[in-house]
Symmetry: none
């Protein structure tokens, strides 16, 4: 059943700009958010963000004033239940499920209807999202574009890509009602699980025997593909903690 | 009837910018056209167009090089069969039929299928299309936006408005990115994983500490909820086998 997205549901969407370099692009993103009723902008940058200069953007002042600034993608998405990356596809061999924007918007709307918090990540103007940044994502969306004969992979202007994505999200203003889906685990919980699994793999010698499976991004993707619910995540944390305790060796065995 | 718009049909669309003042906006429009496969830009200005400066826009060089410059709207649309104006609605008492973008795009697609030539007019950043300019239009389209409490009429950034409009026009018409759904693991594989996890829970002492989580059916459901792909299942089997090997204790450690 489709309906209008409420302001509360629009407020469950976090637009996350990763390494955006151009202040006027940040301003353009904020303006597009304002136009379509979205309020929460997060900016991830390793260095000081060229943020003040963006604040002159027309109509975008409330969005920019409320924007959060984070050092890492992990922190910026920690409280979100679904993390969606945007990509121009291209030469990367993608490790993720990929949806064209119209289907992607339907999926996001379902999550919003289930009270999920959706992070929508856009990479830098030049390079898009890196593989490590993509590894924080549950799945990816791409805006279908024209393939040109010069075979260069097309990439959109950042402000335009955000405008088109948000337009599609409110286009039908759909909300699915009913279909109770269990609440998914938050990204911060998944990140803790990733850390714990990494430790287990090291302590048990798995990393040494299968190094090809064990870079950080691969382990994170393996965990995200588990698609854990909020209630299963602590169970897996408990299992991994018990494994770790056991692998400490016999001297620790007394204090189980 | 919906289908793929051919390049020939995309070439029946003329994006017409009326009194655009900012060269970087003209460049952004050209880039959006390039991204979505449209080639024909027309610019109407009474004075010399700030056109040369726009030509540096990324990927937009072919569109800009082929752009036509006209003195009047009448000349710019003379060879078109349908003239569509864009408006943010607002204070004008409209004399025209007005469609929201999704319906407007369907109407335009029908015209293109009938070999019509469609002009899509965008007004100046500040004032939009004047009443005189609107009088050249057969009908109008508006991009649905959020109404804000300050009651100011929202207006989009020109480059974003063009990007969203052209996206909608080609939205239905393209090749979907064949949703790549990874093959799920077979039930037998999941059952082997359940058996192995049960053994891990016992050997590590988890079963003794959390008996309420550990009846057979619960462990099986926990594993099934992982929703494993065919390629992830053996990775998890390997991890659990390594954990088991490690928990055999130090006497087994030699034969890793």
């Amino acid at each position: 059943m489709e309906g209008v997205l409420s302001q509360q549901q629009l407020d469950q969407v976090y637009v996350v700009l990763v390494r955006a370099r151009n202040p006027s692009n940040i301003g353009a993103v904020a303006r597009a958010m304002h136009d379509f009723g979205f309020r929460y902008l997060r900016v991830v940058n390793e260095y000081a963000v060229p943020f003040e200069t963006a604040k002159s953007a027309v109509d975008a002042s409330t969005v920019l004033a409320g924007a959060g600034v984070f050092d890492t993608v992990a922190e910026a998405v920690a409280d979100c239940t679904v993390v969606v990356g945007t990509t121009a596809v291209g030469d990367r061999s993608l490790q993720h499920q990929l949806y064209a924007l119209p289907e992607a918007a339907s999926k996001m709307s379902e999550s919003l209807a289930d009270s999920g918090r959706v992070a929508l990540l856009f990479g830098s103007e030049k390079t898009g999202l890196s593989n490590d940044e993509l590894s924080h994502c549950n799945w990816l969306l791409t805006i279908p574009m024209q393939q040109h004969e010069d075979l260069r992979h097309p990439s959109m202007n950042l402000g335009q890509a955000v405008a088109v994505s948000l337009y599609e999200l409110v286009r039908e203003s759909r909300v699915l009602v009913g279909d109770r889906v269990p609440a998914p685990a938050a990204a911060g919980e998944m990140e803790r699980l990733t850390t714990l699994l990494t430790e287990v793999l090291e302590k048990t010698g798995y990393t040494r025997r299968h190094p090809a499976n064990c870079d950080d991004a691969q382990i994170r993707r393996l965990v995200l593909r588990m698609g854990l619910t909020a209630s299963d995540a602590p169970v897996w944390m408990g299992i991994l903690r018990q494994v770790l305790w056991k692998t400490q060796g016999p001297e620790a065995e007394g204090d189980g």
